[in-house]
């Protein structure tokens, strides 16, 4: 009631600071389905442009796949629109159970529990299974949702340097007296696209009697020979105690996430995880779509194979053009520009060339590590990638950075 001038001024000043720092997030309005070709209104009120999307998590091109849409239509017919209840009161459908079983089979785990999102899965899992006698040892670059989950958990917390196994080992030694030790990592790290060294981590966990949790949100469905994610790639299927992942990226992209792993852990989440107990689960229509996604993925590896080919083609094209990339195997391909303002200008110029890709800068990535994060999709055809490559070339030329080293770009634009 007392929204005083003082309060309003304070919030306005904070917004002013965000704008002045050049980190204000402007949203672009999409008028079409999510796909390689999208129709975008940007800035607000501008004429709608047809652009190629190079920055979605639609890795498998399933976000607007006709079979998935058809399954969603059928879900609406057979199970209605909403459940208006949490799971344990009157919000559990047969198809929720079916999806939990399907995920368990796909990932090769004991059991699975659905959450409204992977953000909620990560926010709820730690507090449900750990106490102050235990320790969480997390990679320093894990996702924000894991950080929030850890903040809500009374277990002790420590970190290890990103993907640094010597440091992880040190920390495991240091905390050997704790009851439960849980090592926590992303499978694929979203900003760099690099992959966790799960084989070595599992070896260390076995040596030091620790458990391991992997957030495979940026890999389920396409990393590994049959798309089972980073455990498959690293040959440790069945050895990861807890996998969290999302249906909001490659697996149709609507919403929903899960915790999959040891039976008792999943069971404990069903009894104790707060976002599960106090919020609706995934809507039936979304469940129907995800079930169809798993059917598509289980029938063949065509989509993830095409994604792999597209990614190799894209990486080579950018490298040949003289861009500096973060090395890796995932479809996350960061084009390094280092300077925050350059990344924003670059993104705007790309948009004018019909290419939609966003610049990332501090605090999302470390200071002086600004970049355009491109994400490849099985929904991209050769012509999309060729068009995007020539736009990158043109804009790269305009800013005079092609073939330059990091030092040369920094000398030219600053950090």
């Amino acid at each position: 009631m007392s929204y005083s001038a003082k309060t309003r001024n304070l919030y306005q000043a904070q917004l002013g600071d965000i704008r002045n720092a050049g980190i204000y997030k402007e949203e672009r309005f999409i008028h079409s389905s999510q796909a390689a070709d999208i129709e975008v209104e940007f800035p607000a009120g501008a004429e709608i442009m047809n652009v190629i999307n190079m920055c979605s998590n639609n890795y498998l091109g399933l976000s607007s796949h006709p079979d998935v849409i058809k399954a969603a239509h059928e879900g609406l017919e057979s199970r209605g629109y909403g459940m208006s209840s949490v799971r344990f009161i009157c919000g559990t459908l047969d198809i929720h159970r079916e999806l939990e079983k399907k995920v368990t089979e796909f990932l090769g785990t004991d059991d699975t529990i659905l959450f409204p999102s992977c953000m909620d899965a990560n926010a709820g899992v730690f507090e449900a299974i750990l106490t102050s006698e235990d320790i969480m040892i997390s990679d320093r670059l894990v996702h924000a949702s894991i950080i929030d989950g850890m903040r809500l958990c009374s277990a002790q917390h420590d970190t290890f340097k990103h993907s640094n196994m010597e440091h992880l080992e040190e920390k495991l030694l240091l905390h050997s007296d704790k009851r439960i030790k849980l090592v926590i990592t992303d499978g694929v790290f979203s900003m760099d696209g690099d992959i966790a060294r799960l084989d070595e981590m599992v070896r260390l966990c076995e040596k030091y009697d620790a458990m391991i949790l992997v957030d495979d949100s940026h890999s389920t469905g396409f990393i590994g020979r049959t798309g089972r994610g980073t455990p498959e790639l690293c040959n440790v299927v069945g050895k990861i105690d807890i996998i969290t992942t999302t249906f909001g990226k490659a697996l149709g992209g609507a919403s929903g996430g899960c915790v999959s792993g040891r039976k008792e852990i999943v069971d404990m989440c069903r009894q104790r995880a707060r976002p599960y107990l106090f919020s609706n689960t995934i809507a039936p229509v979304i469940v129907s779509g995800v079930l169809k996604v798993f059917e598509i993925l289980s029938s063949n590896t065509e989509r993830r194979d095409k994604l792999e080919e597209n990614t190799a083609y894209w990486r080579k094209g950018l490298k040949d053009a003289g861009f500096i990339l973060k090395e890796g195997e995932s479809p996350i391909v960061p084009v390094m520009l280092f300077n925050a303002k350059l990344s924003q200008d670059f993104s705007k110029d790309l948009y004018n060339e019909g290419i939609y890709a966003i610049g990332f800068f501090f605090p999302v990535v470390p200071n002086g590590q600004a970049r355009i994060r491109t994400q490849i999709s099985a929904g991209h055809e050769k012509h999309h990638l060729d068009n995007a490559l020539s736009a990158f070339n043109k804009v790269g030329n305009k800013h005079g950075i092609l073939g330059l080293t990091k030092e040369q770009i920094v000398a030219k634009y600053g950090l």
Binding site: Y11, E41, R151, L152, S255, D267
Partner: protein, 396 residues
Amino acid sequence: MYTPYQYHLKNQLNEIIEAGLYKNERVIVSPQGAEIELETGQKVLNFCANNYLGLSGNPQLIAAAKAALDDHGYGMSSVRFICGTTDLHKKLESKIAEFFGTEDTILYAACFDANGGVFEPLLTSEDAIISDALNHASIIDGVRLCKAQRYRYENADMEDLEAQLQLAQEQRFRLIVTDGVFSMDGNVAPLDKIVTLAEKYNAMVMVDECHSAGVVGRTGRGVTELYNIEGKVEIITGTLGKAFGGAIGGFTTGRKEIIELLRQRSRPYLFSNSIPPLVAAAGIKMVEMMTGTNELQDKLHRNSAYFIEKMTALGFDIKPTRSAICAVMLYDAKLAQDFAAKLLTEGIYVTGFFYPVVPKGQARIRVQLSAAHEIEHLEKAVNAFKKIGKELKVIK
């Protein structure tokens, strides 16, 4: 490593089972509605959904969702600020603001996330949050994630609120936080008095309208309408997952700068997908329906009044309520469970609630009324309550 931990977890799970607190899920095989079908083949009347307006299976919402599937696809595979914002999201945000008479709205994947992400961006350790003791778990988690000083007042106790406000005078900003309707009792927060105290002690007010939006107030605008203080509350959070269609989704609506700052800083908004386009489209249709007529609210209000009147006449102990939640007090946890089980054999689906969801010795059956209920559904439920109530000697 897992083996010793597995042993530990099994023990804990056994303790939960032995304490009678293990949550078993009943599997439903039909759309949500007044009548639903369970996996066992039994058809029952549902009196425990948050489907207050009976919209969960509404054909108009389903048609709107289908149309959006056809022109906006299934998923966005992105957070809002990268490439996950559609014209439907913007339209729904402005419709919700219009509906509540607020300045702007921000959508979330759930109201759990709206509440989880609202405090941290707005308040710092210099500020104070003064929270009702019975606020929802998601508010508690949001407060836990925020550095502000915490004050708590007894449920709807205005003397205690005033005392806490006095204690909080040394902080820079004060935010009073309350549920509109408290989900376990069904009582409405005394928002008129809260607003008066907020003025006196220079505090802002946030109200969670999850169980009141669509339900309370003549046209379903919630507790601000009930008390005639529309537009006077700084922050309203609410859900699309209960009365408003029941799928998923939540929102924060209120002052322009607050919403703008949340869009820049609120973690569940920045790091998680928004609602899919089909849910946004159904939400737009829902607000349009609400704006056109009060038919559903009127029917819900009639149903609630009827049910409460009949149950009170039978001699049941009902918590004072001004919402569509009717708490039938049984006090004993085992009795509440037995009562609910027997009602199910009579074709009435309700849930018994007991500690730790409600205080010890306060076990109850929470009945939730809906505009989807017809008079014969209500009669059948009342008769079943009468029969089991006599059988278990709860009433004479």
